[in-house]
Amino acid sequence: MLNNSHRIVEYSLNHLTLVLTVTGIALALWIPTGLLISRYERFSGLTMALGNLLFCIPSLSLFGIFMTVPHLGLGRRSAVLALVLYAMMPLVRNVYRGIKSVDRHVVEAGRGMGMSNLEILWQIQLPLAWPIIFAGIRVTVVLVTGIATIATYIGERNLGRLIQHGITRSNAEMIIAGAILVSILALLLDYLLGRVERRLISPGTTQVGVRKGQEESF
């Protein structure tokens, strides 16, 4: 194992950069999509159905299909594309649900006081939907980190490779090492997102927060 340590570092970094790239693109793509379908309701059914469909395709198939497409080929591009598509369902769904979960009377109060649609979105709906949206982001990141391992079969050199080699050599140590490293990465990212979340979310929106705010105000 020890002489493999430089390789493990390489795999981990590759894994991390893949996950971060995918997360970045997925957020940039799917959060606006979720916001749009919560506004233009008639597209929501179709969009969610698409997300569900993509989510149900085995990730191995997605990787494999993109791999055979010219200009995508073996490696990063195919992996990123497949994972971004995979992330569509949990992200779009949670953004949509989050926005829809905002008490409509609160939105109406804002509109009645003369807030524009953009002000309502930015100052009311998004802040109140944050807990649900963030839950979606965290689930997505954990999912993507795990599924990224499968991209090793289309040439990604990430932590999945440890498991792949473990399988071909029937080596329990390598499989477990791979599993643990991927899990740690996923939990670490989840933890960091949890920290960000706590800074972003108003204490008024959660029960715990309400109690916390109470202590502060006395």
């Binding site: 008490d103 109060a109 804002g110 009645g112 003369g114 002000e119 204490p203 705010g213 109470q214």
Partner: protein
Amino acid sequence: MIKLERLSKIFPEAERPAVEELSLEVDQGDICVFVGPSGCGKTTVLKMINRLIEPTAGNIFIEEENIAGTDPVLLRRKIGYVIQQIGLFPHRTVFENIALVPRLLHWSHQAIEERVQVLLNLIGLDPQEVYYKYPGQLSGGEMQRIGVARALAADPPIMLMDEPFGAVDPIIRHHLQEEFLRIQQEMKKTIIFVTHDINEAVKMGDRIAIMNQGRLVQYGEPADILARPGSRFVAEILGDDRTMKLLELVRVETLMTPLDKCSEKQSGGFQDAELQAGRESVQNGYSWLETQKPLKAALEIMMRNNLDQVAVCREDNVVGILGWKDITSYISNLERGGRL
């Protein structure tokens, strides 16, 4: 001035119109109270005025301007809105909730601070205590009061208030009503006020609009409506004791016979000397009350002391006399007016 002209709203897939051919005018500086059973369309009327709902037919004019042609966002910033479900922003503190519209209007920070302080005092909440609280930490009644403060924040000339005091207890409700009427004397806002409580309507309204199933069934001054309900439905809404409510509305000074016009007979129960004397003597020998009290109070005193007249005082001096007969003839007069 607000003018509604044959206003109708039919929601898609609704069996009957939520509001039907409703016309009325509210004068500048008046409080118009909408009363009616649940689902009769009160909230719908309110929301059409700030264009949260677009009417199916009819027009609304504010200051002679048809609001259909205005920018809804700008329109709403001139109209304070107290929503029935309160609708405070749970992620904002009390301060931030109240400061919302002033901030949208780019007031200076200091002006906003001062304004919030004033409003909190006005609605009877201690700024020290609630300033940094979140709505989830307040009681229902406190939230409702913050909702009123929030609507008043930018001092809009028009207010739409949908059951603004529905969730507060009777004592605070009474206090808020008094306070609101007091500041209204200075503010002179044009207010449309919705309530389920006929007593509140009688107390707050310069005019009362009674609605049933989307239609305006009677519109007029409280005393007129109390004296001459136009239908059995209105009479039912007003309750069995509508005459008593009427007596609550009218002040004794409007019915009393001023002292200098009192004939010897009228003042027979009072000795001249006593009439001219100060409050003490009246208090000892006879019953009296102040000019600003409602007729109901006069009636109460007469019944309790088995009298048929009382003295009316202003600042320790007797200024007039009010008799049982004055009251009954006033009422029958009013009612006869209705029959004509």
